[in-house]
């Protein structure tokens, strides 16, 4: 063998951009849930169906005279969908949006995130990520050659006797400011926040916005849970703050909006100067998204535009239903001694499992964070699936808050009741001699 061929064969076959991003918590935990769980409150998806009007729209799209809905549509987004998204979000933002230049459809919000990091982040760039975070942000930044810079939400003690709220987890303004440097290209904002359920207040958003403007930073705003806000809270779009429209990409999800995560339809809304680069990435990676689902989502939005603000609107009914489920789960957890952090939004809830630590002894010098071992033990022994909070922290910080687990409460009443039964039985086993 020639020297150069030998050298080639001794190198890894895979590209270096895959370094450090091959592990994925979901692959493991989804398998565990599938194998062991009787009640799955782990991965974030509803176990109830999408609303009837959406399912009917999909069937109409498929069986209609127009079989061309089985063929390619416009690459950057099916015209009926981008048109209605431009109209809908234009109203929400108080702006005239162009469906061709200010909107693009993606394969789920996940692919929208990918397009953002690929479009804006280069080697040497820093991207600020607020912990805890939806786990894909970190590997996506790395894959683009960037450096993630983490800043934590820090919990403040709740008022006496009250349950902790996601609002009690806050950024330290000075700490946040210290993370911005001349290398900072972007910050990822996720509000409402997965996993905590935090809904950033206007004041908190202004803090972030001021820094973005000061340091000329792009804001990647993951707003997939925008409709899931409780207790009369308001979801505020950072793009509507002064100086922010021109530097923000807003990401949305049909999966979360319409309880149809398996459709994988997402979108980005933003200024053309940013979206043009997302289009470049999109046309060189996926190019088209599936047509029929886009058509159905367009019809869904058409209905919601007509019913906006009215009691029949799905965007009003869904959070109402989910708030009840949230409160149910809070009650269940509190009753057995798992301390829930009351989420202001999303369909996730994080609970402190310290009182149950005796079931899963600590293993000193273990590589694995405690909450991960706890969650695995729980699904295997109690049949209840949840996700460890450490999954949402960077490697260096996985042990900072290692006694919390995340539950998804977008589940049928029967599922939540079954979860309650498991928890009650577990508590009884702990207290009985």
């Amino acid at each position: 063998l020639s020297f150069s061929l030998q050298a080639k064969m001794s190198r890894p076959v895979q590209a270096r951009r895959l370094e450090g991003i091959d592990k994925n918590i979901w692959v493991e935990f989804v398998k565990l849930a599938a194998t062991y769980s009787t009640v799955n409150l782990g991965q974030g998806f509803p176990d109830f169906p999408p609303p009837d009007f959406l399912k009917e729209a999909f069937v109409r799209a498929l069986s209609g005279e127009n079989h061309m809905l089985h063929q390619y549509t416009r690459g950057f987004g099916h015209p009926p969908l981008v048109k209605i998204l431009a109209e809908f979000f234009g109203k929400l933002l108080g702006r005239d949006l162009d469906s061709v230049t200010n909107v693009m459809v993606t394969v789920g919000a996940y692919q929208a995130l990918f397009c953002c990091f690929q479009a804006f982040v280069d080697e040497g760039d820093e991207v600020i990520i607020i912990e805890p975070f939806f786990d894909c942000y970190e590997p996506m930044v790395k894959m683009a050659g960037g450096t993630p810079v983490f800043v934590p939400l820090r919990p403040k003690a709740p008022k006496d006797g009250k349950l902790m709220s996601s609002a009690d987890w806050q950024l330290d303004p000075a700490e946040l400011a210290s993370k911005f440097s001349e290398r900072t290209k972007a910050i990822v904002l996720n509000s409402p926040n997965n996993p905590l359920g935090k809904v950033f207040s206007r004041g908190e958003l202004e803090l972030i916005a001021d820094l973005c403007v000061k340091h000329d930073v792009v804001c990647i705003s993951d707003e997939v849970y925008e409709w899931l806000v409780y207790d009369g809270k308001e979801h505020i779009r950072i793009a509507s703050l002064r100086g922010m429209w021109d530097r923000t990409v807003i990401i949305g999800s049909a999966g979360k909006t319409f309880s149809a995560t398996g459709w994988k339809v997402g979108w980005v809304v933003g200024p053309n100067r940013l979206l043009q680069h997302l289009r470049t990435v999109h046309q060189n990676s996926v190019y088209h998204c599936a047509t029929a689902a886009q058509d159905a989502v367009a019809q869904g939005f058409q209905r919601e535009l007509e019913l906006y603000g009215k009691p029949d609107s799905y965007f009003i009914q869904l959070p109402k239903e989910l708030q009840q489920k949230r409160d149910w789960l809070i009650q269940s957890l509190d009753a057995v001694g798992m301390k829930p952090i009351v989420p202001e939004g999303t369909y996730f809830l994080v609970a402190d499992i310290s009182k149950f630590k005796s079931d899963v002894p600590d293993v000193p010098d273990s590589d694995e964070p405690y909450d991960s071992r706890f969650a695995k033990w729980m699904v295997k022994n109690k049949g209840l699936a949840a996700i460890p909070l450490s999954a949402f922290y960077s490697g260096a910080h996985k042990n900072n808050y290692n006694h919390f687990i995340r539950f998804c409460f977008a589940k049928e009443e029967a599922t939540l009741k079954a979860a309650n039964d498991i928890l009650q039985k577990w508590k009884q086993e702990k207290t009985s001699p």
Partner: protein, 327 residues
């Protein structure tokens, strides 16, 4: 992007972009409606591919390739074959690499290779008979010229058979020439076989991955859109050895994570229908090809009658035409 805008004018007959205007078979359409009616099929499925789909794909291709294919480790479902090309190139190609691309080529190969930081190296299919070609088989690679393009930096060659745009179906001998070079230079082969079922009388689609020494270095890409006339479903797949597919899976879990569930279930059901009748001429894999062959022949005739010179394709659903007579 540009041509599609022009062709959208209703006064223009669109034979441009590659999509059928004939309906997919009804069992395929019905399969999707049925899948969408099942509640849990509207939620996330397995990231690397819906279980029933990867199982169906492994069965079909085990039969075609004559080797065991593990549905969990040897298959990745992607957003169209386009997504498979992207995942493969992002997984295995990087700065410092060279990738051989045969011209003419499906246009996305070049920007995808460049986006991965690598250098595309082009080699042309040359037309025998000084440009007077009546068949796609007249377009061939010069073996010496091809060998010259390989060096120690050559990470991969992209093969597309049946070929878009010419419609060439590479013969076993032609594939062997490519395979020999891949083995000699330890080069990967990215084999875009989206038109694999569209081969016309007298031709056979051969998978380069089935040649000796090639399975371990080849990613074979397929497309539901082209197989079932459902380009708007945007489902494709990559099939190959675990030690390569695992890297594509890493890219996939960091780009879009999972593909649409109801579409994958519907595709699985359609594949089962046709898998069961792979010995039957009515199998859609063969019947579509027969249907398109008569359209091919009709188009060739129309063009000849108009005084133009079509290059009759041995496969695919594209036909290139010499329009010099119009100048």
């Amino acid at each position: 992007v540009e041509f599609t805008k022009v062709a959208a004018d209703p006064s223009i007959v669109n034979l441009g972009q590659g999509l059928p205007d004939i309906s997919p078979p009804s069992y395929v359409k019905e399969g999707l409606a049925k899948a969408a009616a099942v509640d849990r099929l509207n939620q996330y499925t397995r990231g690397f591919g819906h279980p029933s789909l990867v199982k169906a794909l492994s069965q079909v291709y085990e039969r075609v390739c004559g080797r065991k294919i593990d549905p969990l480790t040897d298959v990745l479902v992607t957003v169209g074959a386009y997504g498979s090309l992207f995942s493969t190139i992002q997984a295995l190609i990087e700065e410092g690499d060279e990738v051989i691309i045969i011209e003419p080529f499906y246009d996305c190969y070049e920007p995808m290779v460049r986006m991965a930081g690598a250098k595309p190296v082009f080699i042309p299919l040359r037309c025998k008979n000084n440009g007077n070609s009546a068949s796609s088989a007249d377009w061939i690679l010069d073996p010496a010229e091809l060998a010259n393009k390989f060096n120690s930096k050559t990470k991969a060659i992209i093969l597309n058979t049946p070929h878009n745009p010419i419609g060439k179906v590479f013969t076993r001998e032609e594939l062997q020439v490519i395979a020999d070079l891949c083995i000699k230079h330890d080069t990967l082969c990215i084999s875009d076989e989206v038109y694999e079922w569209l081969v016309y009388k007298g031709n056979k689609h051969i998978k380069i991955a089935t040649l000796p020494g090639m399975w371990e270095r080849t990613i074979t890409i397929g497309s539901a859109g082209k197989t079932y006339s459902v380009t708007g479903w945007k489902l494709g797949w990559s099939i190959g050895p675990q030690n390569l597919i695992k890297h594509l899976q890493v890219v996939h879990q960091n780009t879009l994570y999972t593909c649409a569930t109801p579409l994958q279930e519907a595709l699985a059901q359609a594949l089962w229908v046709d898998y069961k009748r792979m010995d039957d001429p009515d199998c859609y894999f063969y019947s579509l090809s027969r249907e398109l062959e008569s359209k091919r022949d009709r188009m060739a005739q129309l063009l000849q009658e108009a005084g133009l010179k079509p290059v009759v394709p041995d496969g695919g659903y594209f036909m290139i035409v010499d329009v010099s007579a119009l100048s």
